[in-house]
């Protein structure tokens, strides 16, 4: 496991990099349900997400972590319940200020630079950074003209991160982005996450890596069977989880 | 940069290819609906350059079976009809699709077969008699069965031989439903007797060891006729140009040119237009 000290060795921030908290926050979720057929996959969730924190979502497989994030990002429609971002409905305008990185990155069959350009061209007036700056942040400066699909696993995920951050989103959802990466690549991703966080992007991060959760998390949401069992500051969660399921999960026991 | 130039080169090649050798229907041209035997034997390659040199008219030949040629002409898809089924041709004129029919030339039909000659018809002159023997021997016979001039003649001969083909079809009587060449290919392939016009046979290159078994019957006479498609039925017909072609074909010069065409020293078509008939 990587030491906390290593993560501090991240790229230096420009002066005053931490920006104004986003107008999209807080995010309010009320009575959120998602059903597939008769099966209730997300059951009656109430949740508030506030600015300026890295929120980690933990929980065993099938607990509904990915579904929750997809609902929050507006990728799928809830069966019932309401989601609002800074008092605004979850519509296209809100969604355009969010970004998401998936476990296995979907890269366009183009060059590394073209993958970034595609996103920059999508939303007019979002060219806050140049392609070079964005690639530099992800440490992909010398790969700009390479085909994106020929990158290594770690590089691919870094590119996906860079692309997600290209438009300076207010919210960044991460769905186990380091699940299949080696420690060095994982560290690189975590550095980018910290950088984005420092720039004022709200991070909502699904992971199974408890070390990673400890390193990055300010707050932890623990999910089980489609419900949120616990939402507490990271330190409190790791020191004294209140639910038996969370205790079992942290202890590496099987949670049923 | 490199990619752009490659792309440009590609487009240039494509455009060149598309415009390259782009023939269009010449202004002074006619379409002749004709039979395969005249084309396959090479007659048109001999005739048309002479005519073009004299008149500048481009003659475009669509070579299909006589039945289809007549159908196409009835759909006004031709200016001149040059086929060999007199009864059908006369009917074509009678119902108003043709202006007038003129005799043009003739040759004859023959029956070819394998050297083993299973029906023992070799050397026979009587066509109907030979067919009767073929039927009696249940020897394979390949028929075009495509409503062509040759097929119509063949059907008449079977009738004269009073052979009922209904039960024979698919047994020893094989209906190919194809052109003369394809039927000869099939016949040679399966060792069947085939009735063909002599011009096609002489120019046909896949004879194998096949031989002419039956010839010389006056019933095997093969008359070709030429008709101008009627502009009253088909306003698009190029009347003057079409008539010019017909006039030349039946003229002394045209008739001589037809008679001059030889393949392997053998004359394929014998001109027999009546003087002053057009």
């Amino acid at each position: 496991m990587l030491e906390r000290a290593q993560i501090l060795d991240r790229p230096a921030l420009a002066a005053g990099a931490r920006e104004e908290p986003s107008a999209l926050l807080p995010c309010e979720v009320r009575g959120l349900c998602f059903k597939a057929g008769d099966k209730q996959l997300i059951g009656n969730i109430d949740l508030t997400l506030v600015a300026g924190q890295v929120t980690i979502i933990l929980g065993p497989n099938g607990s509904g972590k990915t579904l929750l994030v997809r609902l929050l990002h507006g990728m799928i429609e809830p069966s019932s319940g309401e989601i609002s971002w800074g008092g605004m409905p979850l519509d296209e305008a809100t969604r355009k200020r969010q970004a998401m990185v998936f476990q296995s990155p979907v890269l366009l069959r183009r060059s590394v630079a073209a993958n970034i350009e595609f996103v920059l061209n999508l939303h007019d007036g979002s060219k806050l950074q140049t392609v070079e700056e964005i690639l530099h942040m992800a440490g992909l400066d010398d790969k700009a003209s390479q085909p994106a699909r020929l990158l290594s696993g770690g590089e691919r995920q870094r590119l996906a991160m860079a692309r997600a951050l290209a438009t300076r989103p207010d919210i960044l959802f991460l769905d186990e982005p380091t699940a299949s990466l080696d420690p060095a690549s994982t560290l690189a991703i975590e550095n980018i996450v910290s950088l984005a966080c420092d720039r004022g992007t709200k991070i909502i991060f699904i992971t199974h890596d408890i070390g990673q959760a400890r390193r990055l998390g300010d707050e932890v949401i623990f999910m089980h069977h489609g419900h949120i069992l616990e939402q507490s500051p990271a330190k409190r969660f790791f020191d004294s989880p209140s639910s038996t399921q969370a205790q079992d999960y942290l202890a590496g026991r099987i949670v049923l | 940069m490199y990619r752009t130039s490659v792309l440009k080169a590609g487009i240039a090649v494509a455009v060149t290819v598309m415009t390259l050798s782009a023939p269009t229907l010449a202004a002074d041209s006619i379409i002749v609906q004709s039979t395969t035997s005249t084309q396959n034997s090479g007659l048109y390659k001999h005739l048309l350059p002479v005519f073009k040199k004299k008149t500048g008219i481009q003659v475009n030949v669509v070579a299909v079976g006589t039945g289809q040629a007549i159908k196409n002409a009835q759909n006004c898809d031709g200016d001149v009809l040059l086929v060999h089924a007199k009864a059908s041709e006369e009917k074509f004129v009678k119902v108003g699709y043709g202006v007038k029919r003129s005799d043009l030339m003739y040759n004859d039909f023959i029956i070819v077969g394998p050297p083993a000659d299973p029906a023992k018809v070799g050397g026979m002159k009587n066509a109907a008699g030979a067919l009767k023997k073929i039927a009696a021997a249940n020897a394979l016979f390949a028929s075009r069965s495509d409503n062509s001039g040759t097929h119509k003649k063949e059907v008449r001969l079977w009738k004269a031989a009073s052979v009922d083909l209904k039960n024979a079809s698919g047994k020893w009587y094989r209906e190919t439903g194809s052109g003369m060449g394809a039927t000869l290919n099939a016949g040679v392939g399966m060792g069947a007797y085939v009735m063909t016009d002599r011009a096609t046979w002489i120019s046909y290159k896949n004879k194998g060891d096949y031989k002419i078994q039956v010839q010389g019957d006056k019933n095997l006479f093969n008359q070709y006729g030429v008709i101008l498609v009627n502009p009253k039925k088909c306003p698009a017909v190029k009347q003057a140009t079409g008539q010019k072609f017909i006039d030349w074909l039946v003229s002394d010069e045209g008739q001589k040119t037809i008679g001059d065409y030889k393949l392997g020293g053998k004359q394929l078509f014998f001109p027999n237009a009546k003087k002053g008939q057009s």
Binding site: M75, M100 | Y2, T19, G181, L184, N185, C234
Partner: protein
């Protein structure tokens, strides 16, 4: 067997001699089939793209129909086009029968379903891959189609080549609507049919070998273009 040996020698001689008549026939074959390919791509590609990336009622049935139409018999297409373009037909006034244009029309009808059905598959596969990311990025439909077409371009090029291959090898339709008229509508396949009917099997085979060589050249040229593009740019 002797025919084969003779055919190869003859094919070689034919290609070396660059006989005028042969060049004319090859030129027309390429012109007709490339045009048909271009037209079919213009029509079939958007159809394939739309079906590939949208969900609508009757989509399954549409795909089954499209896939079935890939097996359109050339002779039937030829016959239908003949009936349309014949002087006695509804479009007879245009005087297109027995012209290269008629052949292009027939081949376009024949291969448009092939291009539509195959590009539908190519686009759908890529769409399935991109859909989630595009949804996350709020990519508008127009940009999504453009991105899919561009990123699938090499797959689609292969689709277009499949259409070209079918068109250039097809005889049933062009012989009916073109009439196999010498110096006007005679293409490789109809020339092969003619030589076969004249019993000159070796020459017919030789022409077949020439046709195959041309198809090989066209495919190699496209592949070369693709490889250069890949090497110098994007995969």
């Amino acid at each position: 067997m002797q025919n084969f040996a003779e055919a190869f020698t003859l094919a070689f001689d034919l290609m070396l001699s660059a006989d005028d008549d042969l060049l004319e026939i090859i030129g027309l074959s390429l012109r007709v089939s490339l045009m048909a390919m271009a037209i079919s791509t213009l029509i079939g590609l958007p159809i394939g793209a739309v079906i590939g990336m949208s969900r609508f009622r009757g989509r399954g049935a549409t795909i089954i129909l499209l896939n079935a139409l890939m097996g359109l018999p050339p002779v039937v297409v030829g016959l239908c086009v003949y009936l349309m373009l014949s002087r006695a037909g509804p479009m007879g006034w245009m005087g297109l029968l027995y012209t290269p244009t008629a052949m292009i029309i027939a081949q376009s009808i024949l291969i448009t379903p092939i291009i539509a059905a195959l590009s539908r598959q190519v686009i759908e596969d890529l769409h399935n891959e991109y859909a989630e990311q595009f949804r996350s990025l709020c990519v508008p439909p127009g940009s999504a189609i453009a991105a899919l077409l561009w990123d699938a371009r090499y797959g689609l090029l292969t689709v277009a080549l499949a259409g070209f291959g079918r068109a250039v090898a097809e005889v049933g339709a062009v012989i009916i609507v073109g009439g196999n008229i010498e110096h006007l509508t005679r293409v490789m396949t109809t020339a092969i049919a003619l030589e076969t009917s004249k019993g000159d099997l070796a020459l017919a085979l030789a022409l077949g070998i020439v046709l195959l060589s041309i198809a090989l050249l066209v495919n190699a040229a496209v592949m070369g273009l693709r490889m250069t593009a890949t090497r110098f740019s994007y995969a």
